[in-house]
């Protein structure tokens, strides 16, 4: 494994030399890095600006000042408002967000691991594995807004409107296809031999699944859980339609931050950051899988 990697590395170095790209002129390097720096600033500036703004006074928030203590006096006014003055609402949204994201991800993990194992390990005839997998994935491609009306009626009939349970159920549908596809890939890549050995020793199918396959697929399970947590945390439309008052999440809190009354940027910035910071932290843990998750599990990075 390591040998192979070294070999690849060497080949790549050789390729660079032969293509002459390594001997790029100083000007070429400068342009290359300039482009990279510009792109990085472009990508990072909005986040940076939000962080800065969240520590500004009402008056400072409109000024193009960037360096705290030097150009403006930082204040905790925004954060104080979010967690103390409007603390009750913030904490309720935060609690709902965590509850909804963790429950729906758990459900995705459970159903997804089962279905992924079934599609990755066994052969279906007639309606083939491929067809089933593609049908499952097709559920992910519907625009959410196209199904919110029946969801709204469905949940009204079940008397689940404004109940986190309704949103948990909706988010599970949204993320389940991803869970199935990623788990299917993981189980397919695991060697069969261990499970076969377990059968010979008299282990049941369920036993083999829970004692052997599942522990081996642990990295995949973590990836599925965290990815669907992120997507559920970010989801907006279903929460907007299915929750009004009690079952609001962080995205709804953000949407309500910019009132008609005020240009209270410090408030918007700090509330937005409450939504952003947790997912950014989670992203660093699953950076390898996020792109895969966003391509419906279709492309491996």
């Amino acid at each position: 494994m390591d040998n192979q990697r070294n070999e690849r590395k060497n080949l790549r170095r050789q390729r660079r030399i032969e293509l002459g790209t390594q001997k790029r002129s100083p000007l070429g390097w400068t342009i290359l890095w300039l482009i990279m720096v510009v792109f990085t600033i472009w990508t990072m500036f909005p986040i940076f600006w939000a962080v800065i703004t969240s520590f500004k006074h009402t008056g400072d928030a409109f000024n193009p000042t960037f360096i705290p203590w030097v150009q403006f006096k930082p204040t905790l006014q925004g954060w104080h408002f979010v967690f103390i003055t409007a603390g009750e609402r913030t904490l309720r949204s935060l609690k709902n967000s965590i509850l909804i994201a963790s429950c729906s991800s758990a459900l995705v993990l459970l159903l997804g691991a089962f279905a992924g194992y079934s599609l990755g390990r066994f052969v279906f005839r007639g309606w083939k594995n491929k067809d089933i997998a593609v049908w499952i994935l097709s559920n992910r491609m519907f625009p959410p807004v196209a199904v919110v009306i029946p969801y709204f009626l469905f949940m009204r009939t079940l008397r689940l409107l404004d109940n986190p349970l309704a949103i948990i159920m909706a988010h599970t549908v949204l993320n389940l296809p991803l869970g199935v596809w990623l788990m299917m890939d993981f189980f397919r890549d695991l060697p069969r031999d261990l499970e076969d050995a377990a059968f010979i020793d008299g282990c049941s199918h369920l036993g083999a699944f829970f004692r052997i396959a599942l522990p081996l697929a642990a990295p995949g399970l973590v990836a599925v859980y965290v990815l669907s947590f992120i997507f559920s945390w970010n989801e907006f439309i279903f929460v907007l339609v299915l929750g009004f008052h009690k079952a609001t999440t962080i995205p709804i809190l953000i949407a309500g931050a910019l009132t008609s009354k005020g240009l209270e940027f410090w408030k918007v910035a700090s509330i937005s950051l409450i939504g952003i910071i947790p997912v950014v932290i989670l992203t660093t843990f699953v950076s390898k899988f996020l792109v895969r998750g966003l391509t419906f599990g279709a492309l491996k990075e």
Binding site: T40, S118, L137, V147, V148, L176, V180, P251, G275
Partner: protein, 291 residues
């Protein structure tokens, strides 16, 4: 014998919960909405839906210019945003191919825009784009340029939406394409180098054809995703000014949920669904071959 039978049972035992869940929570709502789309149901004043046949579809397709303008905006948006993202992503990925140090650092950094809640992205940009006191206009004024009516001009607002979407998703294009470039076989490049191919020739004759299938796949994925545009509209412009940035999903939301016109909203959902389904089928058939 017993083993084979058990295997047959167990595979369905594992798969059925997932299928059942999707049928109850995805197929059932869709059929419900199909049935509703043939009815008139203004939920604020009517107790029950009233069967009207294809009236909704006829009204939407032939008597509702607002639907067509929303569709037209969405199509233009999808086209522009995907083309720009692909252009920048491809350019950057090619430029940095072979020459990229600190790529793990950048990989994590570039993941941030797409991992953020889209509604938070919308509000961050709304702050910066504020016509009077937003940082962007303030900066433009400082360097002596005129203020731009980012969100309040009928001409500029659609491009503002495209810009924010480009901000959010170009890193994604870049990361996928960069990974695809890195996975290309080394030997071909050696051969090209021996034959004395120029940098541009290498890109056009080797790199591009080899990554073309991946480009097609991610472009399709981005098209399907871009059609879902909702949060940016909701947050930045609320479909204004003068409905210039009303996306299809936003109009569906207004009709079906805000105005509680459930019949017409369902019919529009289905038209929207069929458009996206057409593109999805191409993507799905490509993905089917891969597994």
């Amino acid at each position: 014998m017993k083993y084979a039978y058990r295997k047959h049972v167990i595979k369905w035992f594992f798969l059925l919960p997932c299928l059942a869940y999707l049928i109850v929570m995805a197929i059932f709502p869709l059929t419900w909405s199909l049935r509703l789309s043939f009815t008139k149901w203004l939920a604020t004043i009517m107790e029950n839906p009233e069967w009207t046949g294809i009236t909704n579809f006829r009204d939407i397709l032939f008597k509702d210019p607002r639907f067509w303008s929303a569709l037209w905006f969405t199509v233009r948006f999808v086209f522009l945003t995907v083309v720009i993202q692909l252009g920048i992503g491809l350019g950057l990925a090619h430029l940095l191919h072979n020459n990229f140090r600190g790529r793990n650092f950048f990989r994590v950094l570039f993941l941030i825009p797409m991992a953020c809640p889209p509604i938070a992205v919308a509000f961050l940009w709304k702050m910066m784009l504020h016509p009077d006191i937003g940082i962007i206009n303030t900066a433009l004024q400082t360097i002596g340029l005129a203020k731009v009516k980012w969100t309040t001009s009928v001409v500029v607002a659609p491009f503002t939406i495209v810009m924010v979407d480009v901000w959010e998703w170009t890193p994604f294009m870049f990361l996928v394409l960069f990974a695809a470039f890195q996975a290309l076989p080394v030997e071909i490049y050696d051969a090209a180098a021996v034959d004395g191919a120029s940098n541009f020739q290498v890109f056009r004759k080797i790199t591009f054809p080899l990554v073309a299938p991946i480009i097609v796949t991610i472009v399709l994925i981005r098209i399907i995703d871009a059609f879902k545009l909702f949060e940016l509209i909701f947050g930045i412009t609320s479909a204004g000014p003068a409905n210039a940035t009303e996306a299809l999903s936003f109009y569906v939301y207004l009709t079906g949920i805000k105005w509680m016109n459930l019949g017409k909203g369902s019919a529009m959902s289905w038209i929207f669904l069929l458009i996206v389904l057409g593109i999805s089928l191409i993507l799905l058939s490509r993905l089917r071959k891969k597994i």
